[in-house]
């Protein structure tokens, strides 16, 4: 009799603790997620007023004078991202093919895999520093080329890793079937590529999303410019470095433009990521 009472009391204590912990955890989760959503909402609130027609069509005005836009930076960011994708995706995919199709148990494969991990964890500002030493110092000029290469180097390990992972998911029977009817190895790999299409597109889109919001690797490679991007061998205007410079400036109009540019970058990155997710879902 006494024992059952004690057990019941004990159970009540345990249930109270459980309820308390669950409430606290839910509240903490709500707080964390709430703050993050608040950040996005704030960027949207402050950025939206800056996004008028001139923002997308005009060159930046002189400091302190209202008006003008960031059309050159939008164009420059698109150009840098496109150039980086054109270099980074094929090279990264080829390396991924090697890791998955040829180098699964080789020593070169293991070494490359380690390097992919190291490069993936490499702070993007160091990529910028490296490209500065090999492409800016020798040519004595900041350039769009250097910026595009820096972004491509950031994409490389991401693309290589996803390609390897996605190809590894394709059943071996598919490749063996192709090889059995006399197809060469590259045809068999092409078939595996087709099977892994959804995942590969997702990987590429995520890599593009990542580099299009990068600032640090462009600071001392592409730099920035108040003019239209004319040549990739000169400094090229881009949105992210513009945000950095404008935010640090004392001019209210520039700061407003920085918010507008932040909103644009955020929207572009989130849209690309969402797109990547729908492709990933299509695959499964």
């Amino acid at each position: 009799m006494r024992e059952t009472v004690m057990r019941r009391r004990h159970a009540r204590g345990r249930k109270t603790v459980d309820l308390a912990v669950r409430t606290a955890a839910s509240l903490a989760a709500l707080l964390g997620i709430g703050v993050l959503v608040l950040i996005l909402a704030e960027v949207a609130r402050r950025g939206a007023p800056a996004l008028d027609l001139a923002f997308f069509t005009a060159l930046p005005g002189p400091p302190g004078v209202a008006g003008g836009g960031l059309a050159n930076a939008i164009l420059g960011t698109l150009a840098l991202t496109a150039a980086a994708t054109a270099v980074g995706v094929p090279l990264g995919m080829l390396a991924g093919v090697y890791l998955s199709e040829f180098g699964r148990d080789t020593r070169l494969g293991a070494a490359v895999r380690f390097c992919v991990n190291v490069l993936m964890g490499l702070p993007s500002i160091l990529v910028g520093l490296f490209v500065w030493t090999v492409l800016v110092v020798p040519f004595r000029s900041f350039s769009g080329h250097a910026g595009a290469v820096a972004l491509a180097l950031i994409m490389l390990p991401v693309v290589a890793r996803t390609t390897e992972d996605m190809l590894a998911l394709v059943p071996h029977a598919l490749r063996e079937g192709a090889l059995a009817v006399g197809a060469p190895r590259w045809r068999a790999t092409l078939i595996a590529f087709k099977a892994a299409r959804g995942g590969l597109v997702t990987g590429v889109l995520l890599a593009v999303a990542r580099v299009s919001g990068e600032t640090a690797p462009l600071l001392f490679t592409a730099l920035n410019s108040p003019f239209w991007p004319r040549s990739m061998s000169e400094p090229v205007a881009n949105l992210t470095v513009t945000v950095f410079q404008y935010a640090m400036s004392p001019y209210a109009d520039w700061q407003a433009k920085a918010w507008g540019a932040s909103l644009l970058i955020m929207a572009a990155v989130l849209t690309t990521s969402l797109l990547a997710r729908t492709f990933a879902r299509e695959r499964t």
């Binding site: 345990r14 603790v17 459980d18 912990v21 669950r22 955890a25 839910s26 903490a28 989760a29 964390g32 997620i33 703050v35 993050l36 959503v37 950040i39 704030e42 960027v43 402050r46 080829l94 093919v97 090697y98 199709e101 040829f102 180098g103 070169l108 070494a111 490359v112 390097c115 490069l119 964890g121 490499l122 702070p123 993007s124 160091l126 520093l129 490296f130 090999v134 180097l153 490389l156 060469p184 190895r185 590259w186 999303a209 990542r210 919001g213 990068e214 600032t215 640090a216 001392f220 730099l223 945000v243 950095f244 935010a247 920085a258 918010w259 932040s262 970058i265 955020m266 990155v269 997710r277």
Partner: protein, 320 residues
């Protein structure tokens, strides 16, 4: 009919030696080899670029607190310390919170909530760090100087950590912004780890009459402990080298302060702020050496993560 017969009988004699496959294999191997070359080149170039500074200051660069572009005297101590302190603040805040959020998503929330929120967290992990920097500078820093810092000095002001003028920007603000930035990233990795805990193990706990908290604490967390440590290491690697989220709000000051309210700098923020303006070769060289130090720090973290995950994979049968 004859055609098929011919190809099955002697394919090699009739067709020219296929060149497609060796070429394909060679191309792929070359692309893979490029990664080795790149990693080596980065280490080499950072070392070469810092040779001037290495020769002048030697190992004392690491603990010297000097940073004077005018007299050409440079030391990395304030940047290394700033990197470690801001990262420590970020990890101390982000790890428990992301653990709680991940547990909430996996164990507590109904699927109708967990699914969209989980997807949202993954999306948030993709938000560029400059967005966090902007928010930190214009929204959070004023909040810090008007409310949080005065509150901290009123209640914890007896500690040297919370003394000094509430400027808004500084080490503490940078650490908090950094925490917010890595929060979604660590959370989504932890969520994946927790989801891999087999339901059978948890159900056994519930079957014995355990409460959700008891199962979480004694089964789920223990089972996933190593995987979660891996998630933390990944977050650590991100926080250490993060540039923009920190640069906006840390104040860029090379003086080593005792208070978390003081303006400071990290290796990444020093590079972002000073590199484009540095003209003197020794100044540039010292900045590149800072980069080299950061490279070695992240390399060490990567190595640790690599070893850890390898061990994890090998013992996957015994739990994550």
């Amino acid at each position: 009919m004859t055609d098929r017969h011919a190809t099955t009988a002697a394919p090699d004699r009739r067709r020219p030696r296929p060149w497609g496959d060796p070429l394909f294999r060679g191309l792929a191997a070359a692309a893979a080899g490029f990664f080795l070359l790149l990693t080596g080149a980065i280490l080499l170039e950072l070392t070469r670029g810092s040779s001037l500074s290495l020769a002048k200051f030697g190992p004392s660069f690491l603990w010297s607190t000097a940073w004077n572009p005018v007299t050409g005297d440079f030391g990395a101590f304030s940047s290394i310390a700033g990197t470690l302190v801001s990262t420590a603040i970020a990890m101390a805040l982000a790890v428990p919170l992301s653990l709680v959020i991940a547990l909430f998503l996996v164990e507590l929330a109904p699927p109708a909530v967990a699914k969209p929120v989980g997807a949202a967290i993954e999306l948030l992990a993709a938000v560029p760090s400059i967005i966090y920097g902007m928010w930190g500078l214009f929204v959070f820093a004023p909040l810090m100087s008007d409310h949080v810092q005065p509150f901290l000095s009123d209640h914890l002001g007896f500690l040297p950590l919370f003394q000094g003028p509430p400027m808004g920007i500084g080490m503490l603000t940078a650490g908090i912004i950094l925490a917010l930035m890595i929060l979604p990233f660590i959370t989504s990795v932890m969520r994946d780890v927790l989801r891999m805990v087999p339901p059978v193990v948890k159900e056994a706990g519930y079957g014995m009459g355990s409460t959700v908290w008891e199962v979480t604490r004694q089964v789920t967390v223990r089972y996933g402990a190593r995987g979660m440590a891996g998630a933390c290491l990944l977050g650590l690697g991100r926080a250490v080298g993060e540039t923009m989220a920190v640069t906006f709000v840390i104040g860029n000051n090379h003086r080593v302060g005792t208070s978390l309210f003081d303006a400071g700098n990290t290796i990444a923020s020093a590079l972002a702020n000073e590199f484009a303006e540095a003209a003197d070769p020794l100044y540039l060289s010292a900045l590149v050496e800072l980069g080299l130090v950061l490279f070695l720090i992240t390399f060490a973290i990567q190595g640790l993560t690599h070893v850890w995950i390898r061990r994890l994979e090998r013992s996957a049968g015994r739990g994550l």
